[in-house]
């Protein structure tokens, strides 16, 4: 093998193919983390809004876990 930078003139194709795949892999992790943080932040705000609307002394939460 002629080394990574001298692959029989195919270096450009290899860089694009591997680069796009690397972007997709990294992008998936970044997008998943951002989605989780944004969802958490939005739901926390939603909970705060619900809490502020409830009359004093009312039950804080309702419903049980489960499907």
């Amino acid at each position: 093998m002629g080394g990574i930078l001298g692959m029989e003139g195919y270096t450009g194709y290899l860089v694009v193919a591997w680069g796009v795949t690397a972007l997709v892999v990294i992008g998936n992790v970044v997008a998943a983390r951002r989605q989780f943080r944004r969802t958490q932040a939005r739901l926390r705000q939603q909970l705060e809004r619900w809490s502020s609307r409830r009359p004093a002394g009312a039950r804080q939460v309702q419903g049980a876990a489960g499907d």
């Binding site: 692959m7 194709y13 193919a17 796009v20 998936n28 998943a32 989605q35 909970l47 939460v61």
Partner: protein, 251 residues
């Protein structure tokens, strides 16, 4: 026998499990990606016909394999959600779509980039390429359909039906090179009696396929956590998690 299944389907249990799983799946995925990349780019010898251009196989095949695996996962999860009315299954299906679309895109781009030096063109309306493009449109259609509904239950049901109907495209993609005259090369790995790739080229490919599979499951676990939290915000356990006072077993 079904106890573990129903326990797994419990949102708080699954939420906690997915949090641990994402780390335990992404760590080996990263290690395997490094080993597979080293093996594919450095250790594997050049192909006698394609030279070093064949090294695109190490990102193209795992991406194409994932694009189909994720679609089948999405369709099976959608079917489970429809049949057993399991909200968690719909959350899994919804989480699969963006991951699958991104790897279908990667498969198409890497295939096009590989096609130019080998076939002399980036794109040809070949059965394999066209059916893979249809798969990308199915993912887009699935996400678009989900976004069109305000009611989550309706979105779950309609998108599950689309996912199940679209799964017929997966065997078409896989067998297209056998059923029709195709510019695309025939099966490389699925010929179990004699894989048409030598051992020193094969092991990095299998390593990359394994790495991509771990990666998909790890990212899926991360995405499903957000979906579950969203769907369970009315529940006490989800509110405890959001307030930072999570009950035992949920973190």
């Amino acid at each position: 026998m079904w106890t573990w299944f129903f326990r797994l389907a419990s949102p708080p249990h699954f939420y906690a499990l997915a949090g641990r799983l994402s780390t335990w799946l992404l760590a080996p995925a990263a290690v395997l990606l490094v080993i597979g990349t080293w093996g594919g780019l450095i250790l594997a010898p050049p192909d006698y016909q394609q030279g070093d251009a064949f090294r695109i196989i190490y990102v193209h095949v795992p991406s194409a394999y994932l694009s189909m695996l994720i679609y089948v996962t999405m369709a099976v999860a959608g079917a489970i959600g429809l049949i057993w009315r399991m909200k968690l299954a719909h959350a899994v299906a919804a989480s699969c779509a963006p991951i699958g679309a991104s790897f279908t895109f990667a498969a198409l781009v890497t295939g096009a980039v590989w096609g130019k030096p080998m076939w002399g063109t980036y794109w040809e309306w070949d059965p394999r390429l066209t059916s893979e493009l249809v798969l990308l449109f199915l993912y887009f259609g699935y996400m678009g359909l989900r976004g069109a509904f305000e009611n989550l239950t309706q979105a779950d049901r309609a998108s599950a039906v689309l996912a199940i109907a679209g799964v017929v495209n997966v065997p078409i993609i896989h067998f297209s090179v056998i059923w029709w005259a195709s510019l695309h090369q025939g099966p490389t790995l699925s010929k179990l009696e004699a894989p048409s790739i030598s051992g020193d080229m094969l092991w990095p490919l299998l390593t990359m396929i394994l790495a991509f599979t771990f990666f998909f499951l790890g990212v899926l676990a991360m995405r499903v956590r957000a979906e579950v939290l969203e769907r369970e915000v009315q529940s006490r356990w989800a509110q405890d998690v959001l307030r930072g006072a999570s009950p035992v077993g949920v973190n």
